[in-house]
Symmetry: C2
Subunit: 329 residues, 2 copies
C-alpha cells in the first residue's frame, strides 16, 4: 500500500481565513488523493466544516489556539506564540506527522518558523522562496523572491540549482532555461554580486542561458530566473502593483460615457486576460531547501489557491524533490 501523503494547512492565516482555507481543503480532499490536516481554532474550523459534506477519513483538525498576524515581528511571534496555527503546523512537519505545510499567513513569520523548526537539506546554505510570476506565455519561476535580502554569489548558484530541479520535476520542463537577473545582457554587466554569480553559474551543469534583463522577464524568455531576495521581491511586488495600476487606468478610461458599451462587450476577453495573469492558478510560493515543503500562499488566497497549493505539496512529495535537490547540490 502506498504511503498516505498528509498536508498540514494553516486554517487561520490570510485575509479570508478560515472560510476560504477550509473551503479549499474540502475541494482538495474531494478532487485528489489528499489527506489534509487543518490547524487552528477548533470551533471556528468546525463551524466552517459544517457547510460541507466530505469524506471525514481524509480530513482532520489539529487544534491551535493562537493566531500570528502580519503586523507582528516574525522572530518574536514565532518564539512567543507556541500554540499558534503556524507554529503547531510547522511542528507537525518537523515531527513527520505531516509531509508539507501550507500557510497564507505572515510571510516573515512563516519563513522564520520554517527555518527554526524544519531542518535544511544537507549542503543548502540558504533556503529560498520561489514564486511563479505570470508572464506572456505562462509563468517564470523567480527566486529568491524575498527570503534572503543580502546574498553571496554562492547562494544564487544554489538557488539556480534548486529552481531547476523544482521546475523540471513539478512542471515536466526538460532542462529548464536558467537565467541570472541583470541590468545588461553581456557577461561583464551588473554589480559585484551578479558578476561573481555569473562566473559560478557558467561552471554548473545547468542549462544556464546567461543574463536576463528585467524588461524581458514578462515575455517568458527563461524558465527560472535568479537574483537576491531584495531584487526578487522588488520584481514580484512591482509586477503586481503595475498590473493593477495599468488595469485600473484602462478601466477608468474605457468605462465612461459612450465607451461603456464597447467595454462591456469586451468583458469576456478581459476576464481571460485576468486569468492569464492570475497567481491563484499556480498555487503558492514554495520555500525550497528544507527537509519538507513549506508553501506560502498569497495573503489574499481564496479556496482555489488553497486547493492548488495542497496539490502542489502532493506533487512535490510524490516526486521526492527533497532528495533530488540534495543530489544536485
Amino acid at each position: 500500500m502506498e504511503k498516505k501523503i498528509k498536508i498540514a494547512v494553516d486554517a487561520m492565516g490570510g485575509d479570508h481565513a478560515p472560510e476560504e482555507i477550509v473551503k479549499g481543503a474540502i475541494e482538495a480532499v474531494k478532487e485528489m488523493n489528499a489527506h489534509v490536516i487543518l490547524v487552528g481554532q477548533q470551533q471556528a474550523i468546525e463551524e466552517e466544516l459544517k457547510k460541507y459534506s466530505y469524506d471525514n477519513t481524509k480530513l482532520e483538525i489539529v487544534p491551535a489556539t493562537e493566531i500570528i498576524s502580519t503586523d507582528e515581528v516574525p522572530t518574536v511571534a514565532i518564539r512567543k506564540k507556541k500554540d499558534s496555527s503556524m507554529v503547531v503546523g510547522l511542528n507537525l512537519v518537523k515531527e513527520k506527522k505531516a509531509d508539507a505545510f501550507v500557510s497564507a499567513g505572515s510571510t516573515g513569520a512563516l519563513l522564520t518558523g520554517a527555518l527554526f523548526s524544519v531542518g535544511r537539506i544537507k549542503g543548502v546554505e540558504r533556503p529560498v522562496l520561489g514564486t511563479c510570476l505570470p508572464d506572456k506565455h505562462g509563468f517564470t519561476f523567480l527566486m529568491d523572491s524575498g527570503a534572503n535580502v543580502d546574498c553571496k554569489a554562492k547562494y544564487l548558484e544554489q538557488f539556480a540549482k534548486m529552481g531547476s530541479v523544482y521546475i523540471e520535476n513539478m512542471y515536466d520542463v526538460k532542462n529548464p532555461k536558467v537565467a541570472l537577473v541583470n541590468i545588461g545582457a553581456e557577461k561583464e554587466k551588473g554589480n559585484a554580486l551578479t558578476k561573481e554569480a555569473y562566473e559560478l553559474l557558467e561552471q554548473t551543469d545547468l542549462n544556464f542561458v546567461g543574463n536576463i534583463e528585467p524588461r524581458d522577464i514578462p515575455f517568458g524568455k527563461a524558465d527560472v530566473v535568479v537574483c537576491d531576495g531584495f531584487v526578487g521581491n522588488t520584481i514580484l511586488k512591482l509586477a503586481e502593483g503595475l498590473s493593477m495600476a495599468l488595469l485600473g487606468v484602462i478601466k477608468e478610461e474605457i468605462t465612461v460615457g459612450h465607451y461603456k458599451l464597447a467595454a462591456a462587450a469586451l468583458k469576456k476577453p478581459f476576464g481571460h486576460i485576468k486569468k492569464r495573469f492570475d497567481a491563484d492558478e499556480v498555487g503558492g510560493a514554495p520555500f525550497l531547501g528544507l527537509q519538507s515543503l513549506v508553501v506560502k500562499a498569497h495573503g489574499s488566497s481564496k479556496a482555489k489557491a488553497v486547493k492548488n497549493a495542497i496539490k502542489q505539496c502532493i506533487l512535490f512529495t510524490e516526486a521526492d524533490i527533497v532528495s533530488k535537490i540534495g543530489d544536485k547540490l
Copy 2:
C-alpha cells in the same frame, strides 16, 4: 541682456538619428528661446536641415566625424573616439561653450564620458541618473535608475537631496515627498543598505516619508523614490517590459473575431492610456551631480522627446539647479 542659453545635442545618437534629432532641434528653436548646437556628421545634419525653414541664428553645427554605437564598451569608446559626436558634445559643455548636453546614444558611454569631462559639483560623491517613471497620476522621479550599481548608504542620501532639489525646481512641487525603495513599509525592513540609508534619510531636512514598497510606486505615492542603480534599473526596465507585455496580451485577446469591432471603438481611450504612460512627454533622464546638465534621452526618442529634453535643459539652466544642489549637500 539675458545670457543666451546654449544646448548641445548629439545629432548621431539613438535609433532615429539624425532625422528625428534634427527635427526635434528645429521644433525646439521654433517654440522656445533656445540656441541649439547640433553635434555630428556635418553633411548628414545639413541634409536633414534642408527639409525645414528656421531661424539660423538659433541653430549651429559643430562637426564630429565619429559615432559611438550602443554595443561598444563605454570606457574604450570614450577614450578612443575623440571625434565622436558624444565626446565633442561633452567637451563643449566642459569648455563652457554649451550649458547642457542631450544624447539619445549609449547610456554607458554618455555617463562615462560625462564623468570624465564634465566635473562634479563639490561634495557630490556619485552623480546619479534620474528617470521620470510614468505612474497613475503623472510620474515618479526614480533615482538612481542605473548609474551606480553598487552603492553606499551615503550615496542614497545624496541622491535623495539631489532629486528633491530637481523636482522642486523643475516641476514646482513644494517640499517633494521622498521615499526609500524597500521591500517592507516598516523602518526595520530591508537589506543592509536600506537599513543604513533609512537612518541617514531620517536625519535630513527632506520631506522623507519613509519606505515605499515597489507595488506602490505605480500609484504615485511619492514624488522622489531612491534606491541603488541596480534596483532602480530593474524597476525601470521591468516597468517598460511589463507594460509592453500586458498591452500586447490585451491586443491579442481583443482584436480577434467578433471583439474586433468593440476594440476598434476603444481606439481613442487606448491612445489616451498610451499617452499617460508615454515617457516622451517628460523629456529625458537627467544625470545629476555634475557642473552642467547632461540628459540621456531614450534610444527610441523621436522629435517630441528631443524637443522636450532641450526644454528640460533650458529650465534646468534657468533655475540654476547646479548651485541649488551644491547648497543642499
